[in-house]
Amino acid sequence: MTPQHVIIIVSALGGVIGGMGMGGGTLLIPLLTLAAGLEQHLAQAINLIAFVPMSVVALVIHKNNGYVSIAKSAPIVGCAAIGAVCGSFLARYAGGYELRASFGAFLIALGLIQMYKAISAVVKKKKASKNKSAQIKVG
């Protein structure tokens, strides 16, 4: 397997997760560095570029379905753009390991939050169905 094959495979994995709407881009960067051995900054650039065609398609689909709220998102685009310019310029001065490790910490935090949310949703559902069956018994 050539390095190109590895890149295609890990990107496909990132794409599958992204296609499910769960931020596949977030995992694409560590996959590209850890599995495909790319340099951190290059992996970040690739993620940014690969996101563009993917999100254009998704955006058109969501827009047609009426899920895109321009009124809510337009006001923050300007602020976000300023933040992006600063972040992108600063990234150049950060070391590869520092970027990867702090992004890793960010991922761990997000993972824990997501886990908590998923589990509490299950618990809630179970409680609701328990109450329902109790009510039926009483009735």
Partner: protein, 120 residues
């Protein structure tokens, strides 16, 4: 919370979304969705509208990265092919999978890759 505080938090959050995307090359979407929910959108609309915020900042950030010399034609092409193919599979499979199972698996994957990123 009054409107003024709410609005400024919204703008500060927006700047943070941009900064994270630019600095780390991704992950801004994960912050943008809860921010838009805070702004009053439901989960589905927040996910869809987040794309509208992330798309322009990705283009800006990508341009700056390329200008700084972080670019490799072959790697970019391979990654785009993979992402698009995987994206189609993922979007198609979404309907057929259990939502809770998927989010727990995804959470575990994030934690595992996060730990690996820190210690590797």
């Amino acid at each position: 919370m009054n409107d003024k505080v709410r609005n400024s938090l919204f703008y500060v959050g927006g700047t943070a979304v941009g900064f994270v995307s630019g600095f780390f090359g991704g992950g801004g979407g994960m912050l943008c969705v809860p921010l838009l929910q805070f702004g009053g959108l439901d989960a589905k609309r927040a996910h869809a509208s987040a794309l509208l915020v992330i798309l322009p900042i990705c283009i800006i950030s990508a341009a700056i990265y390329i200008k700084n010399g972080y670019f490799d034609v072959t790697a970019v092409l391979c990654a785009c092919i993979g992402v698009v193919l995987g994206g189609i599979v993922g979007a198609t499979a979404l309907d057929k999978l259990n939502g809770t199972a998927v989010s727990i698996i995804f959470a575990l994957l994030m934690i595992a890759i996060g730990i690996k990123s820190v210690i590797a």
